[in-house]
Symmetry: C2
Subunit: 383 residues, 2 copies
């Protein structure tokens, strides 16, 4: 049976092969974007489940927007503007998809940083949107390119990951945040602010959301995968009420609502006395993994690769000075080390830069060191 | 911001108003499609949750297709053909959406019974598909109309609910099942078999799935909302492997996968010794509610309305002989009784028949009797 045009437009993804390969025994994987399994708050979640018997309504059909007590808690916690509304989604990934389905027609144009989050590229690909790529500096998107793009009048949405960007780890500066909000307002481009890594800052001071400077012109997507558990598949999207209403209609047709029991469990976890301590532990643990990775990489800098420091998140972006990313990736895989070649994070092969995305949150300190030792050998041998 | 063409094509739904009204205090609701809250296996689910600590992998990211032990169990239980594959979805509703996104282009035509399930009408509306309506007899779809439609060569999918149809309660006869499978095969139209009520048979003998006569030409969607808990939002879709692979790609982009902990909990529940007894209890309870509703309606038959008997499911379809469905619905709402006017289950107002869908699984026996007493007054007064 012939597949739809939207599905036919999705490119086969090399990253699926890599991620499949990471399941092989003995593989050291710096490829995925997985939190450390041993740090997931399993016992806290188990404890939170015990209280579900007091909320039997979570086993019946519910509202499309999600479990109301969770929405109330999150709206208060994040100081949601009164003319905004929120909905729980099956991960923040689903929110990107709902936005695309509610607001994009085939041929519409979305601006994105280059490189950008692969899952968002896939969603906008399904929506048959054109991608207008904006180069990323180490302070965020290139503002001149952004304004030039907006001035064409053809950009409908600007999708960005301002906090510890996937794949680069870049955190947008305060000045860039204000400027992006201002440009989006001026040119009436809706900003799609995806902040799954926002709570994973282990150095420096938190910066305001871009949307805090333009709350009536943005969608904000939060994820609970990085701070609680990805297996729950829970995220939240907030937006001006009218914009959110459009997403609710799509979600109602597509799955009625996200499963409720784990929404109640998440609420108990987030409210629990021990949660801030858990989060602090995760941050400090990830900081250590990052430092070990970075220090292991340092001897390669200047000659073989470059790498900016990061203040949080799950990834570093290793720019290759002498090698091609796909070559290095393939050779490393033969040596049981999985990484992601930077190429997959670009909407077009014409604009790729040779780089690797390295995840530091799912491997032990020892595994990180072994992986870098093998990477080092590969880079030195390839020259 | 302008919404997309797919969203703009969705009609505002009167059923949302009705369902919102059902929340009012004192409302007797025969409107929704909810299982009885007091029969949900909450304590069994709570018990099943205790074992999650032994499966910590359900808290990490997983495969898009779902929790493998659940898929294995269900594939064995349902005797899935070896060249078919299955995926867990966020309710069977999501499976309809995935099929539409993977296989339909705007302007493609889907055949459906008239009346038909509203959630499927919404999905195919989002897909901007044309609906070719096939009249329903009390044995299933009209086969002559179906063959005439198929012979045009323009039908891509035929969506049907053969077991205790929503909204009519009709169960397709064995002859119709075989004939539909045969026609779909002959004209190469994929059959989309939606069986959320299949396990809710309380009289008569189970009939084979339509797809059992053409396993290489059908999608099958099963729901766990009616037999375990709708709040979990868990369903399953199975299809020939290649067809399923297309759905997996769409699901990966749209939400990565459905939440895992409740998939493991569902598996424990389905495997538990007490589950067959639970299901038997639900069936016998629903049978009693159905009988009370039907007997209360009987004095109205012939003069004011007609109603075929049903052998399972959650609904009866009350054909009105002298009144308009919207009028009756509005007047009943003023008297705190909510029902769904049949009009909403048709793709076009031109083909509607005056009828009401009455749900018998979410009201007590006493509530059903009071609701019918008020309905009786309204029907008699309207003549």
């Amino acid at each position: 049976m012939e597949i739809s045009a939207q599905l036919a437009g999705i490119k086969p993804s090399y990253i699926r092969e890599i991620l499949a390969a990471t399941q092989a025994p003995g593989m050291l994987s710096l490829a995925g974007g997985l939190p450390a399994s041993e740090l997931l708050p399993v016992s806290q979640l188990m404890q939170a489940m015990e209280s579900l018997a007091q909320s039997p309504e979570v086993f019946q059909y519910g509202e499309t927007t999600g479990y109301a007590p969770l929405l109330d808690f999150l709206s208060a916690k994040h100081g949601l503007p009164s003319d905004n509304a929120a909905m729980v989604c099956t991960g923040s990934q689903q929110a990107i998809d709902l936005i695309a389905r509610a607001y994009l027609n085939p041929g519409d144009t979305v601006a994105m940083e280059a490189p950008s989050y692969l899952g968002a590229l896939q969603v906008f690909g399904l929506a048959q949107a054109n991608i207008h790529s904006i180069e990323q500096t180490n302070e965020g998107p290139d503002l001149n390119q952004l304004e030039t793009a907006f001035a064409t009048g053809s950009i409908k949405l600007f999708y960005g990951v301002p906090d510890f960007h996937n794949p680069t780890g870049v955190c947008w500066s305060l000045a860039v945040r204000k400027a992006v909000a201002d440009l989006c307002n001026r040119y009436q481009v809706a900003f799609v602010e995806d902040v799954p890594y926002r709570e994973l800052r282990f150095t420096g001071t938190a910066l305001p959301l871009v949307s805090s400077f333009s709350p009536n012109n943005a969608f904000v997507m939060r994820s609970f995968s990085k701070v609680s558990s990805p297996g729950l598949r829970l995220g939240m999207v907030s937006a001006p009420k009218e914009w959110l209403a459009a997403l609710v209609k799509i979600k109602q047709a597509s799955d009625l609502h996200t499963g409720l029991p784990m929404q109640a469990v998440l609420l108990s976890l987030l409210r629990s006395e021990g949660f801030p301590k858990h989060l602090e532990m995760v941050r400090s643990n990830y900081k250590q993994r990052y430092q070990v990775l970075y220090q292991a990489l340092e001897p390669l800098f200047g000659e073989y690769c470059e790498c900016d420091t990061v203040e949080g998140g799950m990834f570093v972006w290793l720019k290759l000075l002498k090698s091609q990313a796909m070559d290095v990736t393939r050779t490393l895989l033969e040596q049981n080390v999985a990484v992601v070649p930077g190429d997959v994070f670009y909407s077009s092969v014409d604009i790729t830069r040779p780089a690797l995305r390295l995840n530091f949150t799912h491997s032990s300190l020892a595994q990180l060191e072994v992986a870098v030792a093998r990477l080092s050998d590969v880079l030195r041998a390839q020259v």
